[in-house]
């Protein structure tokens, strides 16, 4: 599904990722853990194609295609989804309008016809209930005045709605209390699928109690410095990043 080789990424001329290599197969859930400033967000933005994240070396293959060559909206249409750490507010645009616009934009890019308002509403309603996203929330302006939990639930709802092949979850646990975290994690787990790959990016082990990964990679100073099964998270929690990063160095 995703094949990253020797990836170097610079932001404002400063190299953040320094030769990252990572491979995720369909149906797998991988976690990337790392201390602040290790390049976790840079990796997620690079995969999503945000402007200003310049690939200076290496390659990213997604379903065998060169991901770096695609504009961000094309990546979205082809199934790359990034659940953001800080979902943005768009005043005056109702959440429902946004979902409809996004869904139909993706459909159009794939050569499918638009869904009408009723069709979108049905689809959204069917997915919203499990994530405790109320009708009232869908009528409010996108993320405006939403609590941290509401924002993350809405991100998860979009993931459910767009049915991506590759879902990247960037610090999904930040700003969530334990109940909200559990709800979001359940939503994510429900989306585990043999055809879908997931990349869960987090600083804390806590999230991985709920979303249990197949494989964990530790990112430090722009490189993967350690890899292992889910037990690696516990080791990190117990001994701290310094220990593992220090060992690798």
């Amino acid at each position: 599904m995703l094949e990253i080789k020797n990836l170097h990424v610079a932001v404002d001329g400063k190299e953040i990722l320094k030769g990252l290599t990572l491979s995720i197969g369909a149906g797998e859930v991988h976690a990337i853990m790392g201390p602040n400033g290790s390049g976790k967000s840079t990796l997620s933005y690079t995969l999503a194609g945000r402007a200003g994240y310049d690939i200076t070396d290496g390659s990213i293959l997604y379903k065998g295609e060169d991901l770096a060559a695609m504009p961000p909206e094309e990546r979205a249409a082809k199934g790359v989804f990034l659940a953001m750490q800080y979902p943005v507010e768009i005043p005056g645009v109702t959440t429902m309008t946004f979902l409809k616009t996004a869904l139909n934009s993706q459909r159009r890019a794939r050569g499918q016809s638009d869904l009408d308002a009723v069709g979108v509403l049905k689809l959204v309603r069917a997915k919203a209930k499990a994530l405790n996203v109320s009708e009232e929330m869908l009528k409010r302006a996108l993320n405006v005045g939403f609590s941290g939990g509401e924002k993350k639930r809405l991100e998860t709802l979009q993931m459910a709605l767009f049915e991506p092949s590759l879902a990247i979850l960037d610090e999904t646990d930040s700003g969530l209390d334990i109940d909200a975290l559990r709800l979001v994690a359940e939503g994510v787990n429900a989306l585990r699928d043999p055809a879908r790959a997931m990349l869960v990016i987090t600083h804390y082990q806590r999230l991985l109690d709920y979303i249990v990964p197949d494989r964990i990679h530790v990112l430090a100073k722009g490189r993967i410095v350690a890899e292992g099964g889910k037990e690696l998270a516990l080791e990190l929690e117990a001994k701290g990043y310094e220990h593992i990063v220090g060992q690798a160095a």
């Binding site: 909206e73 953001m84 943005v88 005056g92 645009v93 946004f98 767009f162």
Partner: protein, 485 residues
């Protein structure tokens, strides 16, 4: 409102969709007044219209006043000096006799309307929108007169009203915007060639949305239409105005006057979607739009509401205003002004509180992109007798890119201590993270800009008749296409 009516209007605005597709010129033989402006020009126009003596005198008085006036220069707009002697002040399709059925209309003219998306034939059959189409200076065809007649509503070209309803015209013309009001209004008073007259009698709710499409066709022709709408006691009327003009390299002058009169308990809702040619991406050509629009809430509990979506014109100089004369009267101004490339917009409103318990509300949304300059200029004035006057003003500016400008110039005057005046203003930019968020969800850039800007304008778009608003939203997006690099 019947949905067929709105469908028609919608279609018309939908046509605005494909960039500036109105850059076509209809090749019709035109009859013109000699170039330049003099008393003879005024007499020529008046004679062409078959006007009574009193109207000619009214025009001549305006002209004599105008020659002594100076063009105003206080607005934040810059343009080369206009040579008023180097323009035509009257142009009419040559083959047009007075009063006619649609069948007699030059097929080429009808074709023009079709390109504009207002097929009159179709409208006769299925739409509830009565359209008084102004083609350059002469109203060519007025539809739906009969149905309106049954309700007692008069909706006709103003030239016709001058002949057929002289008492009504005499009673109200120039009472809201006096002949001497300002340079451009006075010029209009001297040379206006046509426009629309509406009279809604006592207690009548106008049975359909009234709509006029203006279009400037002949080159080097100024368009000076004159609109007068009178809502008698307890009546209601909603009027939609859409404007387009063909692409030309030279600039064209448009100086219209609109007067609204609302008597006791009457309400007038006046909506404009203005998409005059804005000039090209280098700032060449485009309409100079110098318009005086004013409503007089003359009666108790009367209400006048202006809604405007301004996306066109090289220069916009326009301040639709309300005189809140009657006690408990209400004035509203909802505005979206979009300026892209080299467009300059200086627009806003005046709310003049004269009566007691008068209320006004101003919601202005200015969007600047490219190298455009966008100014909100507004006056809220509370006179001594306006006990308990209330005003709420909200001015929001949105900037796209780093080379444009937004300016807010509010004037507030209060001579009554009981007045309550609120003013809120914000300036924001389309943030990179908002755009990225949209892109990541699969929404292409131009569509994302349109979505964000429409969200920004929402409170104003909501004021438009609903289905009309849907298409206005598209226009908002299209006028900003490619504005984010």
């Amino acid at each position: 409102m019947s949905s067929a009516a709105q469908k028609e209007t919608r279609k018309a605005v939908a046509e605005l969709g494909d960039k500036y597709k109105y850059g076509f010129v209809t090749d019709i033989e035109m009859e013109r007044a000699p170039k330049g402006l003099s008393e003879d020009t005024v007499r020529y126009i008046s004679a062409k219209k078959g006007e009574p003596e009193w109207m000619l005198e009214w025009r001549l008085a305006a002209f004599r006043r105008w020659v002594q006036m100076k063009e105003p220069d206080w607005a934040r707009v810059h343009y080369p000096k206009i040579d008023y002697q180097n323009a035509y002040y009257y142009a009419a399709p040559k083959s047009t006799p007075l009063k006619q059925s649609l069948d007699e209309v030059d097929p080429k003219l009808l074709e023009t309307y079709n390109k504009l998306g207002i097929p009159l034939h179709e409208q006769m059959a299925l739409a509830g929108v009565a359209v008084d189409a102004v083609f350059d200076s002469v109203s060519v065809a007025t539809t739906f007169k009969e149905k309106l007649n049954q309700a007692g509503v008069i909706f006709c070209p103003i030239s016709e009203a001058i002949r057929d309803y002289p008492d009504l015209v005499k009673k109200y013309l120039g009472t809201v915007v006096p002949v001497t009001d300002n340079f451009f209004a006075t010029l209009n008073s001297a040379v206006f060639s046509d426009g629309t007259f509406v009279y809604v009698p006592k207690g009548v709710r106008c049975p359909m949305e009234l709509s006029t499409y203006f279009r400037i066709n002949a080159s080097e022709t100024g368009q000076f239409e004159r609109t007068l709408i009178v809502a008698d006691e307890g009546s209601y009327v909603s009027y939609l105005e859409g404007c387009t003009a063909p692409k030309r390299d030279e600039n064209q002058l448009h100086a219209a006057v609109v007067e609204l009169v609302a008597l006791d308990d009457a309400e007038i809702k006046y909506s404009t979607v203005q998409n005059w040619y804005p000039g090209d991406e280098d700032g060449k050509g485009g309409i100079y739009n110098f318009v005086t629009k004013r409503g007089d809430c003359r009666g108790r509990k009367s209400k006048i509401s202006w809604t405007q979506v301004e996306t066109g014109s090289a220069i916009t100089w326009k301040y639709p205003s309300c005189i809140l004369r009657g006690d408990d009267s209400v004035g509203e101004f909802y505005s979206i002004a979009i300026a892209n490339h080299f467009q300059q917009a200086d627009t806003g409103t005046k709310m003049i509180h004269l009566g007691r318990n008068t209320k006004s509300r101003i919601i202005s949304k200015g969007i600047s992109a490219g190298k455009a300059q966008n100014t909100y200029r507004g006056l809220v004035s509370v006179y001594g007798k306006a006990q308990n006057a209330r005003n709420y003003t909200q001015c929001d500016s949105l900037l796209i890119g780093g080379e444009c400008g937004a300016h807010t110039v509010p004037y507030i005057e209060s001579r009554n201590p009981s007045a309550r005046i609120e003013h809120e203003a914000t300036t924001s930019k389309i943030a990179e993270d908002q755009l990225f968020y949209c892109l990541q969800r699969g929404i292409p850039q131009d569509e994302a800009v349109s979505l964000i800007v429409n969200g920004f304008c929402k409170e104003v778009l909501q004021q438009l008749p609903m289905e009309f608003a849907v298409e206005a939203q598209k226009l908002v997006g299209i006028s900003l296409e490619g504005s984010v690099g």
